[in-house]
């Protein structure tokens, strides 16, 4: 808790969510070892044939998170190269993203709520909105969507998790 509303609602929430995903992956890995299956089968699993697999859910969550943090801080976000995501790649992406977010100081977001930010809403469309709108209507719903889908995929495949793993440590 930093007394910075915009920081806590964006960078703070993203760091917490990604740390929770990281802990969930630890439990998934332990479950795979116990059941003697290849963890990367799980990382490739989907809830529906036309939904992204778990690895891509993590990639997308990380992409939205670093884009949100960097843009609110007035920085150009680094490009993340798209590619197949196995467990090791997923862990590396989460670590890289948490490192980027952790380097952003709350003061860097001063005034970000009203700064105009341009972001892509699809491969062919962009939108420009004040930072608060970009965060509340676009970036955070997307991030929460993808991290919840990671949890849903793991639960659907038998990994023993509970809501507390998703919410993470409190206070």
């Amino acid at each position: 808790m930093t007394n910075s509303l915009i920081y806590d609602c964006s960078v703070g929430s993203c760091i917490r969510a990604l740390n929770n995903v990281s802990s969930m992956l630890d439990k998934a890995e332990a479950y795979a070892a116990e059941k003697k299956f290849d963890i990367d089968v799980l990382i490739q699993s989907r809830l529906a044939p036309d939904m992204f697999p778990l690895g891509a859910q993590i990639f997308i969550a990380c992409t939205f998170a670093k884009n949100l943090g960097c843009r609110l801080a007035g920085q150009e976000p680094p490009d993340y190269e798209r590619g197949p995501v196995n467990l090791d790649a997923a862990r590396a992406l989460i670590k890289r993203t948490i490192d980027i977010l952790t380097a952003i100081k709350p003061e860097a977001l001063n005034g970000a709520e009203t700064r105009q930010i341009t972001f892509s809403t699809s491969p062919t469309t962009t939108e420009t909105q004040p930072g608060a709108i970009y965060m509340n209507k676009f970036a955070m719903p997307n991030i929460m969507f993808h991290v919840t889908t990671v949890y849903a995929l793991l639960r659907h495949n038998g990994v023993p998790l509970g809501k507390r793993d998703f919410i993470g440590p409190l206070n």
């Binding site: 808790m1 007394n3 509303l5 915009i6 806590d8 609602c9 703070g12 929430s13 917490r16 969510a17 809830l47 529906a48 939904m51 709520e113 009203t114 809403t121 939108e127 004040p130 930072g131 608060a132 709108i133 509340n136 209507k137 676009f138 955070m140 719903p141 997307n142 929460m144 969507f145 919840t148 889908t149 949890y151 849903a152 639960r155 659907h156 038998g158 809501k163 998703f166 919410i167 993470g168 409190l170 206070n171």
Partner: protein, 165 residues
């Protein structure tokens, strides 16, 4: 314009997402055997779709009430049909929209106490918003979407996010 405040960091998102869920439900209702979807789960020890919608409603109404220092309306979990859960979600939207922004703005440091049968949790308003209210709310919205997608309902991410206004 677009200044950030406790109210506009929370309540508009709750209302928007519940409206999106109403549109998602309309698509689910068009499916053959639609009523059975309300009993669908992603795992045997996860809650079914109906309970996910009820949890969306509870999370939103308690979120608004706690941050505003009010008492939330009672919604007993008696719904069994899409019509009934749509009505509940609409009533929840109406309640959240009825809360005066000035009652929520400035609640960053307000004490929020959650009481459970075996104890209680104490938060500041800001920690309650970001570590509890919004994660739980999006969790249940997304899980409802995931259950429907897992059961073949034709939805896309734009149904979840809502169309641009």
């Amino acid at each position: 314009m677009a200044a950030i405040s406790m109210y506009n960091a929370s309540m508009p998102a709750l209302v928007r997402m519940m409206k999106n869920l109403l549109a998602i439900i309309a698509k689910a209702e068009a499916m053959p055997d639609a009523p059975k979807l309300l009993e669908a789960r992603l795992a045997p020890d996860m809650h079914p779709l109906m309970r996910q919608f009820q949890s969306v409603s509870d999370t939103a109404k308690f979120g608004a009430a706690r941050l505003a220092g009010q008492t939330a309306p009672a919604f007993p979990d008696t719904e069994t049909t899409f019509a009934e859960i749509k009505d509940r979600l609409q009533k929840t939207i109406d309640y959240v929209e009825s809360v005066d922004p000035s009652a929520i703005d400035g609640s960053e440091e307000r004490e929020v106490v959650l009481k459970f049968p075996n104890g209680q949790m104490n938060f500041t308003g800001l920690d309650y918003l970001n570590t509890f209210l919004l994660p739980n709310f999006y969790f249940h919205c997304t899980t409802a979407y995931a259950i429907l997608r897992n059961n073949g309902v034709g939805l896309g991410k734009m149904d979840f996010l809502g169309r641009p206004e």
